[in-house]
Each structure stands twice: as C-alpha cells, then as structure tokens.
C-alpha cells in the first residue's frame, strides 16, 4: 500500500534554462513563496519523478507537496482484491530537493511527514524513512541524458506500523530522459536493497510529458515496485499495509502549471493499478516546484 512515486518530473526541463543570477530579493521572494505554498497546501504523495537531467551547477530544485490516499481494499498474496474492513487514510507532506553540485552530479533528498488514520487501529503520525541520493550523468546530448543514481534509505525513527519500515537500505539505478518536439519522457530502472525487510525490489518507472501550452504540461506516469519476496516476513509480521513482501504498480496523471520562471504548480491523481500484498485505492496530490 505504499504510495511512493519516486518518478521524475519535467521540472528539470523547466529549470534547464540557464541559472541566471538570482538577486537576493528574488531569493527572498522564492523563499516566501516556498513557505507560503507549504502552508497553503498544508499537506499530496511525492509527486515527483526522477529525471536523468541534472540542473546547472549550484541550482536547487525543491518540491513541496501534499497528498491524500485512501483505500478499503488490498491485493492479497495471490493477487485477489479483497476488502480490508478497516479503512485506511493517509495524508502526507513531502519535501523533495535536488541540488546540482557540478554539471554532471547532483544530490537529492526525499522525506515526508505522514498522518495516517485506520478506522479500527487509530491514528499514527510521524516521519517516513528518508532517502538521500546521488545522481551522476554519464552521457548527455542537447536533448537527452543517461544518468546513474545511488540512493541511501535512512530510517526516519523506530519502526512504526503503517508509517515506516525503519530499515536501512540502498538503491542503485539508471535513468534515461529525452525531449521530443512537444514534450519529454523519463525512464528508470533500479534495484532496491533492504536490510532484512521489506524484500528487495526491482523498481521501474516511466513518465511522459506533453506541453499543452507554453506554461501548461500534462504528465502521465507509471511506477513499478516489484518485490522479490525475500523479505524476512517474521520480522515484520504485523501489517497488511506495510507487508514486507509486496509488489505494486502505480499510475498517475498530473498537470503542471508554470506560474513564473521559477515556480511551477503541480496537481494530479494517482491510482494503484496492480499489486500483491499491497493496498489498492488511490488519491490526489498538489504541490509546487520552486527552483533557486
């Protein structure tokens, strides 16, 4: 039932415009906008995609978002969709940030704070596990890029049911992005290793962006988390929601509206399309990209 969407977003395409010298006043304005957006949106699941493009050296891209997810069904181990009889709701506030160190390298941060309500099991809230990543572009042309990515999975605290596994791990993957006449696409493939549980996963993602207007973009994406079922289920026996051995295919549609040069609003919906030992259902999200 994890609704993780570590996809890419065309923000990098937006932000490919050269990093003009931003005056301190502009920085302040952006900071205010960032905080304002965070406050207004208060809370959407990580609506970002991982792109192979790297920003200009010194460029910082941030996405603050709120997502809402709910379900009352799940796919069991055999893949049958069954009722849960214990409605699950999650609201997540997430921050994704990517900082370009050099023209071919960037570091990423991904973290969130969740509010979870289960009808019969009560409320749970707290930090999700964090992700710290490093992207290295190995090949690029005017319009395309091939990038390797390493992500460290860092526990956000003690294990808490429905919230976080609290297990360290890492992910290694490769990303490819390309632009075409009116849009772009991102492809990603990786292997996620966890210590003990959940099981290791093959993660794959794909996103297709299309420019409807110069300031409006439509994005369709899917993401697969294919658990290899080697997780130590006895160490995490206690969850329908966070089963240590799960598989999940997500689909997502979104609109990106560029309000000004450095600010883009994002809104969309997502739906869990297929799974094993994971929740079905879906939700919506909203957020804004701001680059500095």
């Amino acid at each position: 039932m994890r609704a993780v969407f570590p996809f890419s977003l065309n923000i990098i395409v937006f932000s490919k415009s050269s990093r003009s010298a931003i005056s301190s006043n502009m920085r302040l304005l952006h900071l205010i906008l960032l905080l304002l957006t965070a406050t207004l949106e208060a809370v959407t699941t990580q609506p970002h995609h991982t792109t192979a493009f790297i920003g200009q050296p010194g460029e910082l891209d941030t996405l603050i978002s709120y997502s809402h997810y709910n379900t009352n069904h799940f796919w069991n181990k055999s893949g049958n969709l069954v009722p849960r009889y214990n409605h699950f709701y999650r609201q997540a506030c997430t921050l994704y940030a990517e900082y370009a160190i050099w023209c071919a390298d960037s570091v990423t941060f991904d973290g969130g704070y969740d509010f979870i309500r289960e009808r019969l099991d009560g409320n749970t809230f707290g930090f999700e596990d964090f992700e710290l990543g490093w992207k290295h572009q190995v090949y690029s042309t005017e319009t395309a890029a091939l990038t390797t990515q390493l992500i460290a999975l860092i526990p956000g605290g003690k294990k808490r049911c429905s919230l976080r596994y609290a297990r360290p791990g890492f992910q290694a993957g490769i990303l490819y992005s390309d632009q075409y006449s009116r849009g772009w696409y991102d492809l990603g493939l990786g292997y996620r290793f966890y210590q003990g549980f959940p099981s290791d996963q093959i993660v794959a993602e794909g996103a297709l962006g299309y420019d409807l207007l110069s300031c409006l973009q439509f994005v369709a994406s899917i993401q697969l988390e294919y658990g290899l079922f080697n997780g130590q289920s006895n160490k995490n026996f206690n969850n329908i929601v966070f089963n240590p051995n799960y598989r999940l295919l997500n689909g997502k549609l979104e609109l990106n509206y560029r309000l000004m040069k450095h600010v883009t609003f994002v809104a969309g919906g997502f739906q869990h399309l297929w799974g094993r030992n994971s929740g079905s259902g879906g939700g919506f999200f909203g957020g804004s990209w701001i680059d500095f």
Partner: protein
C-alpha cells in the same frame, strides 16, 4: 583492531536482542498455556460451539452476527470489549483479524500479562486481607478453534480474553465518588500499598479503578505490573482533603 571490537560488540548486541525477544515470547507462550480456559469451565463448551460456527473474530460485522454486542475499539489499546447475551456474567476482550497486532505484539502476550497481573493483585488482596476494599475479576484465556480459519492476508488472532463481569457503577458516578470525601484515608492507604507493591504502572485513574455496586474498588487494567507507578496521576481525581493525604503518602515517590 578497533573495527574488530566494534564488530564483536555489534554481534553480541544482536544475539542478546534476539535472545531477549525470543525469551519474552517463550515466557508469554508458557504463561498462556497455564492460563487457558479448561475444558471443565462452565462456558467452555458453549464458547466452542459459538466460535466453531463462523470466524467470529474476523471483523466487526462477523462479531455482531455471532450475537456479540456492538462495540468499537478502545481509544488507546484498540481493544474491543464486548458482551454476549448467551454468556451472562462474562465480558470478552479481543482484537479482530482485520486489526493490526497492537504494539507489534501477538495478542496472547497482552492476555497473559493481564491474567498474571490479576493473579498478583488477587494474591495480594488475600494476603493483606483487604477484600473489603478491593476486588479483581477472574480471567481466562480462550483459544479460538483452529477452524474456521481466518481468510488469507489478514492478521489472525488465536486467543481472546474472557473475564468475569463486575457490577461496576456508571463512569460519571464513579468519577464523582472518587472526587468525594467518601473515600477514606484507610482506602487510600491500602490502595497506595497495593499499587506500590504490585507496581501497577498506569492504573491510578478512575476509569481503571471503578467502584463496584458493593463499594469495592475493582482493578480492571491489570496488564502493566512490576513497573514504576505514576502516583501523581490520581491527584486531580481526588477531593481536596484526599489530595492532601495522597500527597503525604507518595511524598517519597
């Protein structure tokens, strides 16, 4: 050299953690075995008949369908406390198969603690001859029949707790009684020694110490024993005079 030492410390810590966890579970399983409802218990056969018909503990609907009174999980423990008209004089405490294992523990660990805690209180009451002041309900762990099984993908519970029903006064009335001067110093003194000696960590609030209609204090939350008691929790629920006396009793704690 240093790395080797760190590695050894880590290995020892991991082995210790695993052993400690296994011991706790083993102990709980042994305790459960000794507190299981016996075949000759007056309601055992009737309970078997009731629970063999359907998976009663699957969800709220199945519980209701089996004749149990509608109930919703308690705020903190998420425990369902219910009654059944065919089993007068008993209450049932349980978790449903569609619920998570509370606090990441199998439900029987909690049942074993509750029965064990109740036994300790009962022994203390007998030894100190304070049965005029206090009482504690009898409790038994009932093992659910192996069939019908819980459907795949949920979190099956194997045991429920059956307790003797106490004739408790209404919650509001109980709070008023605790706030009144009807509770004498002798009661408070006996309560202090009982709670201190058993180490009933979190029982000092009217909800966990309801009065019965005979005027005795019933211990209905017996799970946490052998711990440091939060004596001050009772203060706001007492009358001014009793607050003063309670503070005097607990001044060294």
């Amino acid at each position: 050299m240093v790395a080797g030492s760190i590695f050894r410390v880590c290995v020892i810590f991991c082995l210790w953690s695993m052993t400690a966890a296994a011991n706790t579970l083993d102990q709980a399983q042994k305790l459960v075995a000794s507190y299981l409802m016996t075949e000759d218990h007056p309601i055992k056969a009737k309970l078997d008949a009731c629970f063999e018909k359907s998976r009663v503990t699957f969800n709220l609907e199945s519980l209701k369908k089996a004749g149990f009174k509608s109930s919703f999980p308690r705020k903190y423990t998420r425990l369902i406390v219910t009654k059944h008209p065919k089993f007068p004089g008993y209450i049932f405490k349980l978790y449903l198969d569609v619920q998570r294992y509370h606090s990441d523990e199998f439900e029987f660990v909690q049942w074993a603690s509750r029965v064990e805690g109740g036994n300790k209180i009962r022994e203390y009451i007998q030894t100190t001859q304070t049965a005029d002041f206090f009482c504690v309900p009898e409790a038994w762990i009932y093992q659910l029949p192996k069939k019908p099984k819980c459907p795949e993908g949920y979190m099956p519970k194997d045991y429920i707790l059956v307790e003797q029903e106490m004739n408790l006064i209404a919650s509001k009335e109980n709070e008023q009684l605790w706030k009144s001067n009807e509770i004498g110093e002798e009661t408070l003194e006996n309560l202090f020694f009982l709670v201190r000696n058993i180490g009933l960590e979190d029982c000092l609030k009217p909800d966990n110490l309801p009065f019965t209609d005979e005027g005795r204090i019933a211990f209905i939350d017996t799970e946490s024993y052998g711990k440091k008691v939060k004596f001050k929790h009772l203060i706001p629920f007492l009358s001014d005079n009793n607050q003063h006396y309670w503070k005097k009793l607990i001044k060294n704690y």
